[in-house]
Symmetry: none
Subunit: 242 residues, 2 copies
Amino acid sequence: MSSLPKPRYHQIADELRKEIEHGRYEIGSLLPTELQLCESHAISRHTAREALRILINDRMVQRRQGSGTLVIANSRQRFNHSISTVADLLQYGANTRLKIVETHKVDADESVAALLDCKVGTPCIHLHGLRSASKGEAPFCVSDIYRVAGRDPLTKRLLEVRGAVYALIDELDIGHIGAVEQSMNADMVSADDAADLGLPKRTVCLRIVRRYFDTDGKLILVAVNQHPGPEFVYSMSLKQSR
Amino acid sequence: MSSLPKPRYHQIADELRKEIEHGRYEIGSLLPTELQLCESHAISRHTAREALRILINDRMVQRRQGSGTLVIANSRQRFNHSISTVADLLQYGANTRLKIVETHKVDADESVAALLDCKVGTPCIHLHGLRSASKGEAPFCVSDIYRVAGRDPLTKRLLEVRGAVYALIDELDIGHIGAVEQSMNADMVSADDAADLGLPKRTVCLRIVRRYFDTDGKLILVAVNQHPGPEFVYSMSLKQSR
DNA sequence: ATATAAAATATGTCCGGACAAATTACCACT
DNA sequence: AGTGGTAATTTGTCCGGACATATTTTATAT
């Protein structure tokens, strides 16, 4: 399927990236000019610019008219080292109580399709729950869990979930988690969720989306957690990299 | 200063973005083809493609060969903010432009005292600024920087800051950063800050508070960054611990 | 009515050109 | 040595063209 060679500009970008990573071009130094790249690689100026644009998108270089292409990082600025681990995350999950309120199959609308990286209309399962510190305590978080539906045992188990779970990943034998991608943004709690939590309608929340991947990098499920109010603070320490 | 007209492709991207935001093109629908844009705006195919590329970078559209340009979001999805080491943070700072709007001495009230871990009434300095991707672009973040005032050279340098800085830590010779503590919560943008950013009053924001410590663990300064809107997403990867 | 093949459509890759704008380098003058 | 002006260099904007590739639509066959 992808037996075709990469586009030329991709190859050149990869080459330049490697050279930067291996110290041929240090941070603060200039890459070859467009014209030099055209000459050294027998390409058009357009192709040279496309290659450099990839490095801009990687946040490895900055370009300035009249000046040149400055190296500002020596590796792709994409996903970076964790500041926490999957084990930490699983421990957090085990220390709180998730009450599953609703479970059903849905056909993915745009937002669910975006979460699960699948096509609109794909059959999915959706678990809706409330998380609290322990039984009897007021919930502090609304959780929505999504997975592409299949005929696999895990989908079946998720559809059968009732009541409270403490360690979702463990109790449902979800399998070995290879990695988790986590993203956060601020938004408003939806009207339904505000009602579930006994909150006014226009309540801000910190929304944390976690995508769980297995050891082969395949997406297992996505969990969307909404923590209402400015009082919920997510803290972490950044280490000095060495 | 920026009396020059914007490049044509920027204008067309802005126009298309507004049309998407106002519902002319719904999520899931197709934008005009390249050829249609060329005809309706009397531009070359190259310029049409540059305009659409801006919308790709905004994460508002996806393009597929043979198919067209699909709307996937109805507002700008601001770039992912992925920081997990001190070096990442310094790099991020160098890649964006902080325009210092206001600098003055204050006596710490309760909230500033809590930030700086000092007593109420302690003399402090406060820098207020706006952060944007580059000169001429709309600010996407309000920054407030605090430090306990002393007779030290750094306090003096901070009080003398004017205009734009790109790498605050480096340009002001702030010294060696040993660690950074970072916390996040969701809140509302203050009325003053909303006005600075040209936003409605009741706009949610992701507030990120960073406390910078030197290598001896002493607090250097605190920066409070407010990123308005649900479009700003902070992401990170969690690794499986070994 | 359904399946398959062919044609049309829409974006992707890559070439070339020209002029504009910003920065750097160089030179002349004080 | 410092300053100002000019020229050279480098990237940015925008035009045009051609062919390749992927998707959608249409036509044809069963």
